[in-house]
């Protein structure tokens, strides 16, 4: 059976457009609000990434750190993250949801136990930022056995030989990091160059769905729309920060923002 993620990419391809992927943090700034956000943005986004926050994130920039900090301060636990997923999936069973975070939380929970919870709550995929190939071989295999997509990352520093190996073991989706940066950095490489690198990787196996992330905002997204999918994260976290400050309805503000992002790539 095809995964929700694979089906989503197929559908986007039929419509001849990139998939829109959002990233928000579970529990930012409360459990309820983060669920409301998921529900509202899922009308426009094709795939939802949901961060499970860690307090020592070594690859995240200020915006996502801020979101994680808010969520942790309000007491979010892993168990709550899975509850949020479950509640969301009850009404959106076919909308792919990917959990993203750091390995220590998986490690403390126990790999098998973590995957069991993923499965029972309806998680479609996992991105573990600090578990690279080949260290992730075992865990990625376990994910596959549980019909959960393990999403491998590729970066501009990944040598082409390694890219080939990673593509070979990849599941339905890969994540290409646009530039040398933590999340939310300013795009310091031109979109043209990002796409050039992207196409070099894409050429290796055209069937693989490869999305681009890091530094993508409403200003840059249109210029990258030839990719299979585009991830917007930090800009959403920043928008949450701002709407909290102004006491606006966060879910509504995000709804608007994601709607506008989508408009730019169709």
């Amino acid at each position: 059976m095809k995964s929700n993620i694979a089906v989503t990419f197929e559908n986007c391809k039929k419509e001849n457009r990139a998939a829109l992927i959002t990233y928000t943090v579970a529990g930012d700034n409360t459990k309820n609000i983060s669920l409301k956000i998921l529900n509202s943005i899922s009308k426009h986004a094709d795939i939802l990434e949901l961060g499970f926050p860690h307090n020592t994130p070594i690859a995240d920039g200020g915006q996502i750190q801020g979101s994680s900090y808010r969520a942790l301060k309000n007491g979010i636990k892993l168990q709550n993250v899975f509850q949020i997923v479950k509640k969301f999936k009850r009404y959106n069973p076919n909308k792919p949801l990917i959990l993203m975070g750091y390995f220590n939380l998986v490690y403390q929970c126990g790999e098998n136990n973590f995957l069991k919870k993923c499965k029972s709550s309806g998680v479609d995929g996992l991105i573990i930022v600090d578990l690279p190939f080949p260290e992730n071989k075992n865990f990625a295999y376990k994910c596959k056995k549980n019909s959960i997509n393990f999403i491998q990352l590729l970066s501009p520093t990944t040598p082409i030989k390694r890219v080939k190996k990673i593509i070979n073991v990849s599941h339905d989706m890969l994540y290409y990091i646009s530039m040398l940066s933590t999340t939310g950095g300013k795009l310091k490489v031109s979109p043209k160059n990002i796409l050039k690198n992207y196409n070099r990787i894409k050429k290796i196996n055209r069937k693989k769905n490869i999305v681009i992330g890091f530094g993508i905002t409403n200003k840059t997204i249109a210029s990258l729309k030839k990719a299979d999918g585009l991830v917007v994260g930090s800009q959403l976290c920043k928008t949450i920060t701002n709407s909290l400050k102004k006491r606006l309805n966060t879910a509504k503000v995000l709804d608007n923002m994601v709607y506008n992002l989508k408009k730019k790539i169709i």
Binding site: Q65, K77, L78, L105, D130, T158
Partner: protein, 408 residues
């Protein structure tokens, strides 16, 4: 879990860079895979390169001032009664602490790699001070990441870093101490590894940084083993090597050459304020294994895996994790670990400074506290050597506040 004889400890890992199958490894974002791989290959080559070794030894001698003194603490020995107490006065190294070895080697490597920038983290400010010193010496541009709380409490080192022309980046996230400084420094390297080399200030982080650091500080025990032979004619049977451990770089250097000998290793962690639950002693207090800064290690954390808050009077030991090498030494029972409280460290500082010509900073004062505790129970045939790896001058403000006066 067992330590193999005849093989350097830093090389006793498996193909995934894990020690004892459990500690260390490279839990890093994909972007760092290649730069870490490059650095690993370069270092493997340089370790075998006679010219490089010569260069290292030249700078260790002419620039750092090797060997640092090895002295008997006659007054302290007489005062306590029992074991003979000695100190390896590593604080006499250029800059005032062992951090200069790692900093110098990283700068030499950065030069070989053709990099013009170097970044590093710091807690007590020593790692930062030394890196900025070495960077200046070798013509590299330098950035130091330091927790905002540490910037306030380690003023003398902060001023030294600035004087050396390095930029200090205050880290205001989380606990605003070393743990956040390391995270922020790694993030910076994720974004700038094409032009910049990173120096991790202790034997922590991804495997290659543990290796480079322990390989560099090993100079301490290379000197000491000769000094001991000069003093005693051989390595005495009953000898205890006491060293404070935060990340664990000075202890690794202090013990390395004695790994296959009968010398007993005692590591002293920061027990934090008396009657407080907060501490920085993951080995003493039975913390669980977790992933921190790219490596598996015993680490202070909650049930879910969020890294815990630590507290210690010594900024240099105020770190929730501990080198995977020390975890390996603990589980293989090669070394023993205990802790000293803030109060015990302060008392030890005062006693040693009063009786002897040396004045240890608050980090080695933790090790002196243990020496003071055990020496009276031992015989005069027992030898205790404490690594006095920092000078109290940097802690002047804290000591004044806590004890009312500062002596040196």
């Amino acid at each position: 879990m067992r330590i193999k004889k005849g093989i350097p400890l830093i090389d006793q890992h498996d193909k995934n860079f894990m020690y004892g199958g459990k500690f260390g490894g490279n839990f890093i974002p994909e972007t760092l895979k290649k730069p870490i791989d490059d650095l690993t290959k370069l270092f493997a080559k340089l370790r075998k390169d006679e010219k490089f070794i010569k260069e290292r030894d030249y700078y260790f001698k002419s620039y750092i001032g090797a060997p640092t003194p090895f002295i008997k603490l006659e007054n302290l020995t007489n005062y306590l009664g029992g074991a003979q107490i000695y100190a390896k006065v590593v604080s006499e190294a250029n800059g005032g602490a062992h951090k200069i070895y790692n900093a110098t080697v990283h700068c030499l490597i950065a030069k070989r790699a053709g990099k013009k920038f170097i970044v590093g983290d710091t807690g007590a400010g020593y790692a930062g001070k030394m890196l900025s010193m070495a960077a200046k010496k070798f013509g590299l541009k330098c950035k130091i990441f330091m927790g905002a709380k540490d910037i306030k409490r380690q003023r003398p080192n902060v001023e030294a870093i600035k004087k050396n022309g390095a930029t200090i980046v205050p880290v205001t996230s989380g606990s605003q101490t070393l743990v956040d400084a390391v995270s922020e420094c790694m993030r910076y390297w994720v974004a700038n590894n094409d032009t910049t080399n990173m120096c991790v200030g202790s034997t922590v982080g991804p495997n290659i940084f543990i290796k480079i650091c322990a390989w560099s500080t090993a100079q301490i025990s290379r000197e000491l083993i000769e000094q001991i032979k000069d003093e005693f004619g051989r390595i005495p049977k009953k000898i205890k090597l006491l060293n404070c451990v935060g990340g664990g770089s000075s202890a690794m250097g202090f013990w390395n050459e004695f790994m296959d000998s009968d010398a007993e290793f005692i590591g002293i962690e920061a027990g934090g304020p008396k009657n407080s639950n907060l501490h920085a002693a993951p080995l003493t207090n039975g913390s669980k294994i977790g992933i921190l800064h790219g490596a598996a290690q015993y680490v202070i954390q909650d049930k879910e895996g969020q890294i815990g808050t630590t507290e210690s009077i010594s900024a240099g030991l105020d770190y929730p994790g501990i080198s995977p090498l020390h975890c390996f030494l603990k589980d293989s029972k090669r070394a023993k670990y205990t802790s000293a409280t803030d109060e015990e460290a302060l008392k030890a500082y005062r006693l040693v400074s009063k009786l002897e010509k040396i004045s240890p900073s608050l980090e080695p004062s933790h090790a002196f506290a243990e020496a003071i505790k055990i020496a009276p129970k031992l015989k005069s045939s027992d030898i205790i050597i404490v690594n006095s790896c920092g000078d109290s001058l940097k802690d002047k403000d804290i000591i004044k506040k806590k004890l009312g006066s500062y002596i040196r």
